[in-house]
């Protein structure tokens, strides 16, 4: 899948909002999934699994520690995509 950076950002936001059951305007680049949006470890894994599927990448579960907000997720996905 070839996705431009902006498009990727939008897709990531879409996935996260879908899984955390949020409206797009409720979440910002830096709002925290757990503290601000009530996510737990299972939702985090759901996000990780959805990203792997959507972008055909592999994300090490150790990266979950960085995937605390949209900014963190975008970085991790960008790195995973670069490794493909």
């Amino acid at each position: 899948m070839t996705t431009s950076a902006e498009n990727r950002t939008a897709v990531i936001k879409d996935i996260v909002c879908d899984i955390l059951e949020l409206e797009e305007d409720e979440v910002t680049e830096t709002s925290l999934f757990k503290e601000d949006h009530g996510a737990d470890s299972l939702r985090a894994i759901e996000i990780l699994a959805s990203l792997e599927k959507k972008f055909s990448v592999v994300i090490d579960q150790a990266e979950l520690g960085r995937m605390v907000n949209l900014k963190g997720v975008e970085e991790v996905v960008a790195e995973a995509a670069a490794k493909k």
Partner: protein, 418 residues
């Protein structure tokens, strides 16, 4: 079931409940004798999974039962009509009554109970049916397989195979603690005199759904299961069945049966606090409920058979809960899953049998694959080598997703009630 049932004088006369036979299919041994040898030797059931395709998974070890011959045990039913988990439960029930020196004719004249715990039921068959549906359409699904997927059949097929008419047959689906739930259910029925015997235990067969689910959660160990170790990486999925014969002491004595151990009591609770994370205070509370129900004080317990999955979360939470109940010097606390993997619904049933065999044969089974104890797991897990020990009272823990906890207390059988 309330503790007052044993301590309150107005409760109906209670029977003592003893264990007189075991049916065992495990990755480290088939039958009680081989299972006991495996436990004492610290045998590992881990090997590459063969039951389903594991392509695409970076690692795929599991603990499968090797050399299972259902037709040796299942005589009256058509084996093709039984799913793989039901084959295990029926074969283990047959083996248990043989081991107890009981025959079907004798049981048929008495009122009894069959309770079998499970996590997955016949999910292996469901996996296959769904695969067929997706690849070839629903009309290609095998009707024989579709007919056998009901999990209730884990218990009802035991009654069917043994031609028992006056029994309640129930499958208890409380996941990874289900074996202990099933034993508790049978214990109540035998103790109150509602039934003369109970065939209780658990059964599960390897399935891809459960392996993939745990894999996705990041809780499948890459090689071996190392409970309480600082480098533990999770579980290995396993399979098998354990069925125990519970009967009243009077019944066992009357027929001159070998008594392997006594069940003193059990405790159950469900906190529903989190889908998968264990809850320390509720686990501690469940142990207290079991001890109260058994009329046992913590300082009388010689050994804890832990749920001990080998995940980061379980082992820290469970050992802390053990210390909440037992204080700073808890009894030895071992994990049989180090050897057996996580046999799901069968796990606490096999562990209860292991506890009884440890009591009978005077040893503590080890926690194998152990290198260095996690400083956050402050217990003696009996690393790698079994220890000779006289055991009077043993506690068997089972904890399941959703906060379903079940703890059973077993004891050496003494003529004088303890």
């Amino acid at each position: 079931m309330r503790a007052t049932a044993t301590s309150n004088g107005s409760a109906p006369p209670a029977h003592r409940v003893v264990l007189t036979g075991f049916g065992v299919f495990s990755s480290i041994g088939v039958g009680a004798a081989e299972f006991a040898e495996g436990l004492r030797a610290g045998r590992s059931g881990a090997k590459p999974i063969t039951r389903f395709e594991t392509e695409g998974f970076a690692h795929a070890n599991g603990c499968e039962v090797v050399g299972f011959e259902p037709d040796r045990w299942i005589r009256n039913l058509d084996i093709d009509e039984l799913g793989p988990a039901t084959r295990f439960s029926v074969a283990a029930a047959r083996m248990a009554i043989d081991h107890a020196g009981l025959d079907e004719t004798y049981l048929r004249e008495r009122r009894g109970l069959i309770s079998i715990g499970t996590t997955d039921g016949e999910s292996h068959d469901l996996d296959r049916l769904v695969e067929t549906e997706i690849n070839h359409g629903p009309e290609k699904m095998d009707p024989v397989v579709a007919r056998r997927v009901a999990p209730s059949r884990l218990a009802t097929s035991v009654a069917h195979e043994l031609r028992l008419h006056d029994v309640e047959a129930v499958t208890i689906p409380t996941a990874c603690a289900a074996g202990n739930y099933a034993i508790g259910y049978g214990f109540d029925a035998v103790r109150t005199g509602e039934v003369e015997f109970a065939l209780c235990g658990g059964a599960d067969a390897m399935c891809r759904k459960t392996f993939a689910g745990f894999y996705r959660l990041g809780t499948i160990a890459p090689d071996h299961c190392r409970p309480f170790d600082k480098d533990r990486k999770g579980i290995l999925t396993g399979e098998g069945a354990g069925v125990l014969v519970l009967e009243t002491l009077e019944s066992a004595v009357r027929r001159g049966a070998t008594i392997y151990a006594e069940i003193l009591g059990y405790g159950l609770n469900c906190d529903a606090a989190h889908p998968v994370a264990p809850n320390q205070s509720s686990i501690a509370r469940c142990m207290e409920l079991a001890l109260e129900n058994a009329g046992v004080k913590p300082d009388q317990v010689d050994l804890v058979s832990a749920h001990g999955t080998g995940t980061k979360a379980n082992d820290v939470t469970e050992t802390r809960a053990v210390r909440d109940v037992y204080g700073s010097e808890p009894p030895r606390t071992v994990s049989l899953k180090s050897m057996l993997g996580h046999s799901m619904g069968a796990a606490s049933a096999l562990a209860a049998i292991a506890c009884a065999l440890a009591i009978t044969n005077d040893f503590v089974p080890p926690t194998i694959n152990h290198r260095e104890t996690d400083p956050e797991c402050e217990i003696d897990c009996v690393p790698n080598e079994a220890v000779e020990a006289q055991l009077q009272i043993v506690q068997n823990n089972g904890m399941a997703f959703g906060g379903n906890n079940a703890v059973v207390i077993l004891a050496k059988y003494e003529e004088q009630a303890s």
